[in-house]
Structure formats: structure tokens, C-alpha cells
């Protein structure tokens, strides 16, 4: 990258774009009245997030984010929307309450950010970090099957239970009708 003069700027721009996409998608997801757009917002947000992961030097994670969140979670939600078709009811509350909620949210945001910032910059972390591995897929694989094998198994179990549970729930729901 260093041979290209404007690469710093381009990379910075792409980074900001990712961040903006993430936040904009999240806003769309939280604010729009139509559920289907809300799901789209989630998908956009996830794509932005994947970009951020990429900047954090974990392309594997970025692609997994897209695969799982966009390809699986969002699709499933849209599918559920198609089956259930719940559009958000028209809101009847006033502007004042929205403002109240908004300012409340802003305060929370600031507080959280401040907390994180404090945590991130002022705490006594071991700086500079001595990398013990390169964070590649091989390293992840090794860790998953050694250090974190128990957690890995538990997650698998959770997924299995979830699938069976989902099947059971969906079936009984249908039969009762």
C-alpha cells in the first residue's frame, strides 16, 4: 500500500464508509416502520461491520459475518416476516416522547463511549502487545480445537438444541391450528 501515494486517504475513506454504513444500517433497522426494511438495515449494518472486521485484520471473521448474518440470519428473519407479515403499527405517541427517548439514548451513548474510552486508553494494558499468534485461520482452527474445544462443543450443542427446538416449536404451532 505504501507505494501508492493516496492510499492512506483511500483506506481512511473506505474505513469511514464502513463505519458509516454500520451506523446507518443500524439506524434504519431501529427506526423504520416497515419490518422488511428493518431487516435490510440489519443486513447493511452487518456488511459494514464485516468491513470493520476486515480492518481489524480478520478477514475470516468478516466473511463469516456476511455468511451468517446476511446469508442466514437476515434471510431467516425475512422468511419469518413473509410467514407472519407483521408491519409495525402506526405510532401514536407524540414528538416530545421521541425527543425524550432520543436524548436519553444520546446520553447513554455518550456514557458508554466514555466508559469504553476510559477503559481503552487509561487502563494499564500491556503496551505494546506482544503477538503470540498471527490471527490466521490456521491459528483460529487450532485454538478452537484445543483451548476452546469445550466452548466449541457447547456452542455446537446449543445450535443442535436450537434446531431441534425450532423444529418442535414450528411443528406444534402448525398442528394446533
Amino acid at each position: 500500500m505504501s507505494t501508492f501515494p493516496a492510499s492512506q486517504m483511500i483506506v481512511g475513506g473506505v474505513f469511514l464508509m464502513c463505519a458509516a454504513t454500520t451506523v446507518a444500517g443500524a439506524l434504519l433497522a431501529a427506526l423504520t416502520a416497515r419490518i422488511i426494511r428493518s431487516v435490510c438495515g440489519l443486513a447493511i449494518s452487518c456488511i459494514g461491520l464485516a468491513g470493520l472486521y476486515y480492518f481489524l485484520h480478520s478477514p475470516f471473521l468478516a466473511l463469516m459475518e456476511i455468511l451468517i448474518y446476511v446469508g442466514a440470519v437476515c434471510v431467516t428473519i425475512i422468511f419469518a416476516v413473509m410467514l407472519a407479515e407483521p408491519d409495525e403499527p402506526v405510532r401514536d405517541d407524540k414528538l416530545g416522547s421521541t425527543l425524550l427517548w432520543g436524548s436519553f439514548a444520546f446520553v447513554v451513548c455518550a456514557a458508554v463511549f466514555w466508559g469504553l474510552w476510559q477503559l481503552g486508553t487509561h487502563q494499564d494494558w500491556t503496551v505494546p502487545v506482544a503477538r503470540v499468534s498471527d490471527g490466521s485461520i490456521q491459528a483460529i482452527g487450532k485454538s478452537l480445537l484445543t483451548t476452546y474445544s469445550l466452548a466449541f462443543e457447547l456452542i455446537s450443542l446449543a445450535l443442535l438444541v436450537a434446531i431441534i427446538g425450532a423444529l418442535a416449536l414450528a411443528r406444534t404451532g402448525r398442528d394446533k391450528v
Binding site: 451506523v23 433497522a29 470493520l52 472486521y53 480478520s58 407472519a84 506482544a130 490471527g135 476452546y148 416449536l169
Partner: protein, 108 residues
Amino acid sequence: MTPVPLPERPDLYFIVAALLLVIGIFGLLRRRTLIGMLISGELIFSAASLNLMTFNYFKAPDPTVGQIFVLFIMGLAAAEIAIALSIIIAVYRNYRSVKTKELSELSG
């Protein structure tokens, strides 16, 4: 001294993560439908994941740990979505509504 390139500044990630969290909480509180709340919940998960990754990348010695944790979060989120959606569909089939206000039977 050259300025720190943008992707190398943890505070930006923190801002994004904080925004995601707040938007998620906001949505969770404001949404009236179960699926909407679920989506907001996913945003909160995302915020947590991003935070984890940021700390891991900038502050932790082993870059794999964060990734693995985020992978776990994803797995859990997928499981959660599956369960939650099947519950939603079951609820919908029984009550013809996924609006939380109308689901008083659940709480009572």
C-alpha cells in the same frame, strides 16, 4: 510524525460500537413487534462483538481469541434467531399477531 491512520484508531471503533449498542437498546425499547425487537437485539450483539474485536486487536496479545469469541457470539446469535423465530411463528399462528401489546396472554 504522521497521524495515526484512521483504521488504527481504537476510539473510532468504540464510537461505532457505542452507537450500535445505543441504537440497539433504543430499538429494543421502541419496537412494538417481536421481530423488530429481535433485530434490535442483533444490533446489540453486533456492538458487543465489535467491542470485543477492537479490544482484542489493539490490546490483547493473542488476536485469535477475539475472533473465536465473536464466532461463538455468531453461533449463539444464529441459535437464538432460530429459536426466537420459531417462537414468533408459533405465537403468530396461535394469536395472529406479533405485536407485543396484544400478547397479554403471555404475561398473564
